[in-house]
């Protein structure tokens, strides 16, 4: 197809601003999917995405639209909106020339809007602002337009004002995409140069690469080279997204589609890699992407030790389609065999845990999340520690560093006091504050990441009645006075409950963890002291009193069925318990240490 008649674009937005709804409307308006097959959030194919109303994984769809008698091919790449998935968003952006920026007319710019806009600008994308939810009585269209102009520097005079939910202004969006977003450049006759922006494992076709062709052509039978992997394959199928996979005869420059080549290992179709011709291809690959770094780590263990193999297989399957999920085996004295996993953020962690439990029917025990610390030993060596258990003895530590992020918080100005108080309490360092409109401010703080992954977001939301939004990006490491807080149950240390905290926070955290454990650990045959300790010094203590009475149902009249049922239930319950020394600890105890007070 003539490049002038192709538009490759993505939609970016803050969570809940209507990104997936707009995508649905565009698909409907272009009759890409039959009415029978259409349903809400069409591109969010995971059950979890549908349920939570979020996008986790990018999806692409090819649409056709006729404007002024000319037919255009529109390739839409749907992207996640949450801070954790910035990496995923930036990958999609590299395959596009433009982006629709959806802003909720009742909410205005949020922290994630800003982050996504900067990301789009870094990727050289043309931006088309779209004002959504204009049908709502609380819509502040003019104010929000002014905000976009002042804060983002985007012209809103041509921005469509729409209601994706009500289907208002959808044709205008299509027209604006064609008019204002640039067509791709490139030459179909040049050597093949295709960027892999995603990959997916199909049981029949092998690893499938989602690609954007910058130059050249590709068709079944062609020999191709994955440049970074250095491997050659014969193309078995090419095609486009409708959004299901639809084979085509070929793909050419400017188009978005997929390539299957009987690739056995997903690791060969590395996201960010460049595909070129097997012979006579390009010499230089495309720039690719930054390597993904895990921000949050936790231990994941099967609740029933016998499920270890199943957990390993499940992680391997998830990792096939999620390059940002890292895992390696680890052992814990309390929890046995499991895995240390690295995630992009808390939401990513939560989603992986939920998918493991749901899609693979596993019962898990997860430990409190940790970040990655730098430990500089007295011998001058630097260790990277993401599991508190592995922290060397304090006498061998010269000093430690913790990861710091730049946090951007947007909030109505009435909550500025509350927000600052929270940030201060979480060891934040104030950077600056600016008004983005009369009553809304943007505050910048430098914050330790380990405070953010604790309960920062929950507290921020609850103290601002849900109005504040947060975005953060990694800034670097900073020297910090950190200690390991250990928990002893009946005198025995439970490795899975250790955490690394700032010294000033240790007492409060120790107390609160001991109190929480007292609530979740059931009374047992003997009294159980719960102690929090730093380097052998006890800083908090609670006691779970011994059980005095534990008698089941009556057993009279010869009916023992109820008693048997209760015993079976008890046996089931026991399976969810972990033996830590002499103490039985319920699985949820290991996560309870991070719950908000």
């Amino acid at each position: 197809m003539d490049l002038e008649r192709i538009r490759n674009f993505c939609i970016i937005a803050h969570i809940d601003h209507g990104k997936s709804t707009l995508a649905d409307r565009l698909i409907e308006a272009t009759h890409t999917v039959s009415e029978r097959d259409m349903h809400a959030q069409l591109l969010d194919t995971m059950e979890l995405e549908q349920e939570r109303g979020i996008t986790i994984k990018s999806q692409a769809v090819r649409m056709f639209h006729t404007e002024n008698g000319v037919e255009y091919m529109l390739n839409l790449i749907d992207t996640p909106g949450h801070v954790d998935f910035t990496y995923e968003v930036s990958r999609s952006m590299a395959a596009c020339e433009g982006a629709i920026l959806v802003v909720d007319a009742t909410q205005g710019i949020e922290a994630q809007t800003l982050a996504n806009v900067y990301l789009a600008m870094d990727n050289g994308l043309e931006l088309l602002p779209v004002i959504n939810k204009i049908d709502l009585p609380s819509a502040r269209i003019d104010e929000v337009c002014k905000e976009i102009e002042d804060v983002l520097g985007l012209d809103t005079s041509y921005a469509p004002r729409i209601s994706a939910k009500e289907g208002i202004g959808i044709d205008e969006v299509l027209a604006a995409v064609i008019k204002y977003l640039p067509p791709p450049k490139g030459s179909p006759d040049a050597p093949l140069k295709a960027l892999i922006f995603d990959s997916f494992y199909d049981n029949y076709k092998g690893a499938i690469s989602y690609v954007r062709l910058m130059d050249g052509r590709v068709k079944p039978g062609d020999e191709i080279l994955f440049m970074a992997a250095g491997k050659r394959f014969e193309v078995t199928e090419v095609g486009v997204f409708l959004p299901s996979l639809m084979p085509t005869e070929s793909l050419s420059a400017g188009e978005v589609g997929y390539i299957a080549a009987s690739v056995k290992n997903v690791s060969d179709t590395r996201v960010g890699d460049t595909i070129t011709n097997g012979r006579g291809g390009v010499a230089e690959p495309l720039p690719g992407y930054k390597h993904v770094t895990s921000m949050v780590f936790c231990g994941i263990y099967p609740a029933d030790g016998a499920d270890y193999e199943d957990l390993r297989d499940a992680l391997a399957k998830l990792a096939l389609n999620d390059a940002s999920l890292l895992y390696e085996p680890e052992t814990s004295a309390a929890l046995g065999f499991g895995f240390r996993c690295g995630f992009l953020g808390l939401l990513h962690m939560e989603i992986i845990q939920e998918r493991l439990e749901r899609e693979f029917d596993l019962n898990l025990v997860t430990t409190a999340p940790s970040v990655s610390y730098h430990v500089i030993t007295t011998t001058g060596e630097m260790l990277v520690i993401d599991n508190p258990t592995n922290l060397p003895h304090p006498s061998t530590i010269d000093y430690m560093e913790e990861p710091i992020v730049d946090a951007t918080i947007m909030t109505p100005d009435e909550y500025v006091g509350a927000v600052m108080e929270i940030c201060q309490d979480k060891r934040g360092v104030f950077k600056n504050m600016e008004y983005i409109e009369e009553t809304r401010v943007m505050i910048h703080y430098e914050m330790p990441l380990n405070e953010i992954i604790y309960d920062f977001f929950d507290i921020l939301k609850s103290r601002t009645r849900g109005y504040a939004s947060l975005d953060y990006e990694m800034k670097g490491y900073k020297r910090s006075d950190l200690v390991r807080l250990d928990i002893l149950l009946n005198g025995e240390m439970c490795d899975a409950l250790s955490i690394i905290v700032h010294k000033d926070k240790a007492y409060a955290r120790g107390r609160s963890i001991a109190e929480k454990l007292k609530e979740v650990i059931p009374r047992q045959l003997f009294e159980i002291p719960i102690q929090a300790a730093i380097g052998g010094k006890i800083i908090a203590r609670e006691t779970v009193k011994a059980l005095r009475k534990d008698v089941l149902a009556k057993c009279y009249g010869g009916d023992i069925t109820r008693k048997k049922k209760l015993l079976e239930k008890q046996k089931e319950g026991k399976k969810r318990m972990r033996q830590v020394g002499s103490v039985e600890v319920p699985s949820e105890a290991f996560m309870s240490v991070l719950k908000m007070d």
């Binding site: 534990d550 008698v551 089941l552 009556k554 010869g558 023992i560 026991k574």
Partner: protein
Amino acid sequence: METLGLYVHIPFCRRKCAYCDFVSYPGRDAQMDDYIDAVISEARLYADTLGSHSVDTVFIGGGTPSLLSPKQFERMAEGLKSCCNWNVSEFTVEANPETLDADKAAAYAASGVTRLSLGLQTHDNAILQRIGRRHSWDTFLRAYETAVKHIPDINVDTIFGLPGQTLDEYLETLRRITALKPAHVSSYALKLEEGTPLAGQFSGVDEDLDREMYHAGIELLESAGLLQYETSNFAVPGRECRHNLKYWTGGEYLGLGVAAHSYLRGDLPVRFGNTRDMDEYIRMVKDGRRPVVQQEALTPDDERAEYVMLRMRLKQGIAFADYAARFGRSFEDDFADALRGCEKAGLIERTAQGIAPATKGFDLQNALIGMLLERL
């Protein structure tokens, strides 16, 4: 011929007690005659079982069996006798004090009743009223005096941990009872059953008080010559309830009536239970069908688990030789790890024959059984 216990459930009562979750229906006395007919018809549906067994114990429970008129009672007893090998040496009827009179007691005796179980619960009239009982201490005393004139063995039922009850009040109840010198006393810890009115108003006494009552109660009863033989049961030696012992020692029993349960060991041991719906019960029996709605065949492992679960309610516990004779295996091998754990936790004691629950084992019976059965 194997012996068999016969249980008959009488689901009638004047009014539900506030703590009761047994199957009983107030205000349906008009159905008593139909019900008695149904019970006798049901017994006939078990002609094979009854023909191959000798019935040696009978227990009429409820509900309030003493609501039946003397005539109704006699008719039911005669009906049952007519369809089994009747070699009954223990025949128990449950009675509420306010419904027992001399005519009924005489009718019971005439039908062969040897044991009467009177539901006192507490001597404290205020508490009796609060828990929905219709008698007073004086009513009970009169009923007791009437009963002893006709029936050789009397059991008195009591409950501790009632709302407003103190340790002293509970012990006073036991003192008053032991002064009457009954052959048998049952003393149950109040169990708040979900859905009962009492469970909605009262969250139970403090656990420490509950245990204090239990331990002091055992001491008082034993010093009065009523020795504990099961979690909640005490008797003058030799006068334990042999029917109830069947439940805990694997004896066979056939339950008749709504919600009644049975345990039979034919080629394959089986437990089954009747419908809880009185109309359905009567209808099914009339149609010539056994009114069974749940049934479970027991595997050898089930049998062993039940053996442990039920025997450990008994003061005498488990005799290793009996276990070996019953299952052809060694108890000490089967439960080696669990035994060590239970002993270390102070839940069991070694006896000359095997093991028995320690006091702590009665307090923490659930944990004890759980530990023993963990590997099974």
